[in-house]
Symmetry: C2
Subunit: 351 residues, 2 copies
């Protein structure tokens, strides 16, 4: 037995006193953060991993290369506005984009369940192909595994991606400082509610579509006018609130958010009210938030609003000197409440 | 609906007339090749993917970067000689190595089944960490998903890897020409039989261990003395025979193999006889085969045999002008028979 293995076994760190994996360990919130911080990071002992960005950055041939991975287990695999194929490309492409990288290409690792219909697989493959073609970055390599019935769920897809970091751009979750402005590129929560509705057969008066889309055109527009952008994040599992908490935590700065300023579609808000969800914690798959220095905020907003998906981009708050490491929400009625990371599991298998 | 999607749906290519995914679609043999060639390659339309190497090679900053992915669904996750954690690193590291690359680092994507024991997860994480540390390439980025009980099987792991291509090395499955020599780095079939025994609780007189290990030290030793090496392959799913078929097929050359020269441990041979397997089709996870020009064959063998895992490296055959695209076995009794790709599924979920 290796020394490393021995020491890990000899000194088990408590993981919320949980002896078994629970759905919330994959929920993007506090339990997942515990798993990562107490188990994965000490074992892997990797500075790139410990930076906890949406991807890692390494030097290759004098260029900075971004590298990111994501496995998609969304249920159901087809939903209004997308499917697991397009989502798997958008998800990883967006992770690269918010690292400040231009995607070079993707890998695709399929886990197929025995009995899955080849016709459905064909649709998903076409969707993967279309999404990667739209981004202009090919699928470079792949792998296919099949598991027995009852050992999977139709199809799971891992995509990893590599990208060239944009010269002069240096975004990281620990770079927010007091005075910076918090922008969001569009309404939040559409993806989570659309998938949840598809899963449960819930009908809305108007069909709500996932926001699954590449954020790359918006990120390019932003960085063209605000290359000093401090941090970017795509708020997937755990939603906008959790992404903000991660930035506040990493930079030890306070973040103040105006509840009234956060764009939420009326149908998403209505669904959240009925279902008891907070839209600030519902996953997006085609939005991002950016922390920009104050003198670039107006130019950044103008640039985002000039893009096809960014018309409703807006300023939702600012980084402050008070409350270091915390996110505080100014509610519609003028009170203040702390936003914490998602605790437990709100919507399992949303991505 | 996109044009690409429409055309794919309108003109469904037959995939062995199968309407649903079968275990054999993941077996590494003919059914998997059909799925890749008839469904994935036309849809993805990607030259790097169509090259069907163990990884893709792209240019970054004037350097050649190798990129590979593999998902591991081995059952059981712990077996003599390894576990799914070490296997997931060795598998992707070996894919990079046989591309001619030095690994830079890995991504790890976990799919955990609800209820999986955290203690077992801890062992697997330590094993991933140990294996990557032994190779000297860190885990750079990761992702964790959790699926409900009965929608997974303890743990599935995707690893993707990036590596720097060794300058001056250019290996590809289509480069074999008549006169080249076929080498294998060690005995074949240990991994498949060890996992199969662990799965079924079969006891051998001596414990058979998986060969799961990094081939990087052996590949380095080989390429130091034979940088003109034409092709390398790690014979995982589908075994040695399928890997040889892929090279014969890609290079449109014939390959002649001496059955008596192929190293197989007596206990593996005995297990195969009892179980009705052909050791030439049983997966290895720490071996590789190399196609080298004849004037480098002796030096290459000497170099391999001087490494810790390569003492039994040997010459097993040669590339010939006859039988283009085919692999022919000279049997122990002097007859000849054609070796084809694995058809159907021999040992499911072996990696």
């Amino acid at each position: 037995m290796s020394n490393r293995l021995e020491s890990l076994l000899a000194c088990p760190l408590p993981i919320d006193d949980d002896a078994i994996v629970q759905m919330a360990h994959g929920g993007g919130g506090r339990k997942m953060a515990n798993l990562i911080e107490r188990l994965f990071l000490p074992a892997f002992n990797s500075p790139a991993l410990s930076a906890l960005g949406d991807g890692a950055v390494v030097e290759v041939g004098g260029e900075r290369l971004a590298f990111s991975t994501d496995t998609f287990v969304v249920s159901p695999p087809f939903f209004p506005g997308g499917d697991i194929g397009s989502l798997a490309i958008h998800g990883t492409a967006n992770d690269l984009a918010v690292c400040g990288a231009e995607p070079i290409g993707f890998s695709v690792g399929l886990v197929l369940e025995e009995g899955f219909a080849i016709d459905q697989l064909r649709r998903i493959i076409a969707s993967l192909a279309d999404a990667s073609a739209a981004i202009g970055a090919p699928i470079l390599t792949g792998d296919t595994k099949v598991v027995e019935r009852g050992k999977g769920d139709s199809v799971y897809i891992n995509t990893s991606g590599i990208g060239r970091m944009r010269p002069g751009v240096n975004v990281a979750p620990d770079r927010a400082v007091a005075g910076d402005v918090v922008l969001v590129s569009g309404p939040v929560g559409d993806h989570g509610i659309a998938v949840m509705a598809a899963r449960n057969g819930i009908e809305f008066e108007t069909t709500l579509h996932s926001d699954s889309a590449p954020v790359l055109p918006l990120v390019r527009a932003l960085l063209d006018v605000a290359p000093e952008t401090k941090a970017m994040r795509d708020p997937t599992r755990g939603g906008l609130a959790t992404a903000l908490c991660e930035i506040a935590d990493a930079s030890r700065a306070g973040i103040r958010i105006d509840e009234a300023a956060v764009p939420v579609r009326p149908e998403v808000r209505a669904a959240c009210e009925v279902l008891g969800f907070d839209p600030l914690y519902v996953a997006c798959e085609g939005r991002f938030l950016a922390i920009v220095p104050p003198h670039r905020a107006e130019a950044a907003l103008d640039a985002l609003r000039a893009t096809a998906d960014g018309e409703t981009a807006c300023r939702i708050g600012e980084v402050v000197a008070d409350d270091p490491g915390r996110v505080v929400l100014r509610t519609r009625i003028g009170s203040h409440r702390r936003l914490d990371r998602l605790s437990g599991e709100q919507l399992p298998r949303i991505c």
